[in-house]
């Protein structure tokens, strides 16, 4: 991968960079622990919802929807209002990405993007925890799924596929390489103490 498209840093560095990425990017982010992901959700959502006027879709797997809502509220995001006007959608990835298939998931995202346009939103931001594929024991499908999404497109949306480090490390080298090649940028958040 091109060096400028590799990003390895602390949470704050990564969040700062995420805000600068262009629409149409399909990126991968590897996170070290659940607390880091909670904070990433909160910091990224705050900017996308309050400043950028976008629709945000969060598809957690290891974190429950209530715990994600709580994390957002801790950052003074008006979760109730944004969920009511459908600017913010928080759903368990298992129900979204496998209900009934990943093909339908892509159609679902296209529908959301059209709806965002109709609501005069500037775009769509999706953060999906790919841990759901491990849980369903569909690693081969995961690799195919990632490869089926263009790494860069003309869409007015950003798709961030997030992997817990322990899940990413379970993949064999060839799978890791295929998955990384399927994304425009590779991002890794380091725990603060390792920096």
């Amino acid at each position: 991968m091109v060096r400028e498209r590799l990003l390895d840093g602390t949470l704050l560095t990564v969040v700062d960079q995420l805000h600068k990425f262009e629409f149409g990017e399909h990126n991968i982010l590897v996170y070290p622990d659940h607390d880091t992901l909670r904070e990433l959700y909160a910091r990224h959502c705050k900017k996308r919802l309050e400043t950028d006027n976008e629709v945000v879709v969060l598809l957690p797997h290891y974190l429950t929807a209530p715990s994600v809502r709580y994390a957002l509220q801790e950052f003074e995001i008006d979760v109730k209002r944004y969920e009511e006007d459908q600017s913010l959608i928080i759903m368990d990835a298992i129900n979204t990405m496998f209900n009934p298939s990943t093909t339908d998931f892509l159609a679902y995202l296209r529908g959301l993007e059209a709806r965002a346009r109709a609501k005069k939103k500037n775009g769509l931001c999706v953060i999906a925890d790919m841990g759901v594929f491990y849980h369903m024991r569909k690693i081969d499908d995961l690799v195919k799924y990632e490869a089926s999404i263009p790494s860069k497109s003309e869409l007015k949306s950003n798709l961030l596929c997030v992997y817990h480090k322990r899940d990413f490390d379970r993949l064999v080298k060839e799978q890791q390489e295929t998955i990384c090649k399927s994304h425009y940028r590779e991002i890794q958040i380091r725990p603060e103490r390792q920096m």
Binding site: H34, Y62, I94, Y134, H135, M136, H164, D169, R170
Partner: protein, 125 residues
């Protein structure tokens, strides 16, 4: 040693369960990393009288962990915890044969988890 192994990737929940079980004088080993938990189990399976594990965990899920434990010791008692009981049954059909009696749905009270342990083990005094 009659040790209870508790495995949960959410450290806060793990710590609460560990504390309450220790209060009742159980010997407890707590793991936030299921891969490390499995390694400890495989080193000395007979040490553990009961395993309490979350289902959704990165690295090695609770169901995968249980499969590996039961391969070594099919009679080992395991209590599963999940915040997604309906989804687990609908989407994954819980690939290992787990009795609903052995699943505790989150959120649960600490008393509930203690009751489940007491049903399976005598209280250590």
């Amino acid at each position: 040693m009659n040790t209870i192994m508790v495995v949960d990737d959410e450290r806060d929940i793990l710590s609460l369960i560990e504390k309450v079980l220790k209060k009742y004088h159980y010997i407890v080993e707590a793991y936030s990393d299921s891969v490390k938990a499995l390694a400890s189990f495989l080193r000395d399976p007979s040490r553990y009288v009961l395993i309490i594990t979350d289902i959704r965990m990165p690295g090695l899920s609770g169901t995968e962990l249980s499969e590996k434990i039961w391969q070594k010791d099919p009679k080992k008692k395991i209590i599963f915890m999940t915040a997604y009981l309906a989804e687990e049954y609908r989407q994954t059909q819980l690939r290992v044969a787990i009795s609903k009696r052995d699943i505790v749905e989150k959120p649960f009270s600490l008393e509930r988890i203690c009751d489940e342990v007491r049903l399976r083990l005598p209280v250590n005094t």
